[in-house]
Symmetry: C2
């Protein structure tokens, strides 16, 4: 189950519509973005897209599928840092640094649009207001990462799994990729383990517990919510960090248009 159940999106549409959720675009900015040249790459599940610290000269826009950032700790274990859904640009900051502090891999069959740094710099020169937009994007990303620290650092396995499901659901729903009361869950239990800092066995047992408690109902590669309120409660989930709910840009903020 890839996530392109919906009509197949075009890269430009994904990018512009995602950026619109990050901040208000002037029509000039929108058109500059829409002019960006890119090359679409397809990757099967589990294909590495980038290895940490390598020099790079493009940014990666997730068009379809799910991509993760991860770090290999002491060579054996891998810790997944974040999941990226269509419209995300996990390596946006490489535009600033020319490299990333993490590796990237496709979790599901995915399509990635690569946009050269050169083109992005031209776009920033033509529409300087985009700097603030990109900044906002990495700021939102950082907020999610902070919640991950809180989750891994101080929630039990049960809460952590519940919290992850809540977050994924809200993010998928914002993209129109989740139904009311269910969502695709195209991850192996091993992936959840790497993501949440637990063992695969314990993930398995925890999911079963959540099922027994009639909170979730896994159906193959989909997850149904037997009780969304109970899930939120078990997770201690407060969606405000997702910034979807954060206040709109303040008047006068985008001063550089």
């Amino acid at each position: 189950m890839t996530m392109n159940d919906t009509a197949s999106w075009r890269p430009r549409e994904r990018f512009v519509s995602r950026l619109s959720t990050v901040g208000i675009l002037t029509s000039h900015e929108a058109s500059v973005l829409a002019e960006l040249p890119f090359r679409v790459h397809s990757a099967p599940a589990r294909r590495d897209l980038y290895i940490e610290h390598q020099r790079t000269d493009y940014c990666s826009l997730v068009v379809d599928g799910v991509v993760c950032r991860y770090k290999a700790v002491d060579g054996v274990e891998r810790q997944i840092l974040s999941l990226h859904l269509p419209g995300d640009v996990p390596d946006l900051d490489a535009l600033q640094f020319g490299a990333n502090d993490f590796s990237m891999s496709a979790m599901t069959p995915s399509r990635i649009a690569r946009i050269s740094h050169a083109a992005l710099r031209d776009a920033l020169a033509e529409a300087p207001g985009l700097n603030a937009l990109f900044w906002r994007m990495t700021a939102q990303d950082a907020a999610i990462t902070r919640e991950t620290v809180a989750s891994i650092g101080s929630r039990t396995a049960y809460e952590r799994v519940a919290h992850f499901f809540c977050e994924l659901y809200v993010r998928l729903q914002a993209l129109g990729l989740a139904d009311n009361g269910s969502m695709p869950l195209p991850l192996r239990q091993t992936d959840l383990a790497d993501l949440l800092g637990l063992s695969a066995v314990h993930i398995n047992r925890t999911i079963q517990q959540l099922r027994r408690d009639e909170i979730i109902a896994p159906r193959g590669k989909r997850l149904e919510f037997a009780s969304w309120p109970a899930l939120q409660k078990a997770a201690g989930f407060d969606p405000s960090y997702l910034a979807l709910a954060l206040p709109a840009p303040v008047e006068g903020m985008r001063a550089t248009n």
Copy 2:
């Protein structure tokens, strides 16, 4: 032990010199920054500086001391997300959102310079290149947070403590606040526990183990490194994520000046 052992710094100096480590400042940008109005506040150890989700209209520049970001998980536990040293602006992103997804507290007696969002927006309007600088700043911050996820998610207590000491040492040294082979450690074991997602008791035992292994030598509120190489090895520490070592800005990047 506050950290102003060195000559007492002025806010402007701290800010401009810190931003200089983030990217190259044009003289115009430097002077715009130097014009920023601020108000210095002093806070004793453990004073809350901000509570998550509150609306705010200023950013906080740490001038002296150590400040943390934290989240209260389910009301009882607190997870410290990051530590901020002089020159940092932990709530820089509030300029974009008008609020933060975390609380902030002084870990040690600290001085904080508050700069109004209005003034910062004026500065950005006058020197639009600062947008990219600020973006870089939150990007560096995010890189540290990602390493925290990796650390808490997949390192043992022993490795985690060792890793934290490595990171703090490198950051302090970059600010000239650490000697060769030792550094101030103005945190209680309870704080380390909140920071690393462990219990205070276990922090205590882990530190003793590191001492027995002749890797560190705590001397009151200072920490000596009996063997810095052994510490790095125990931690699996690779400083590249600290971005101090990351490539300098690429030619042509700061196109919007």
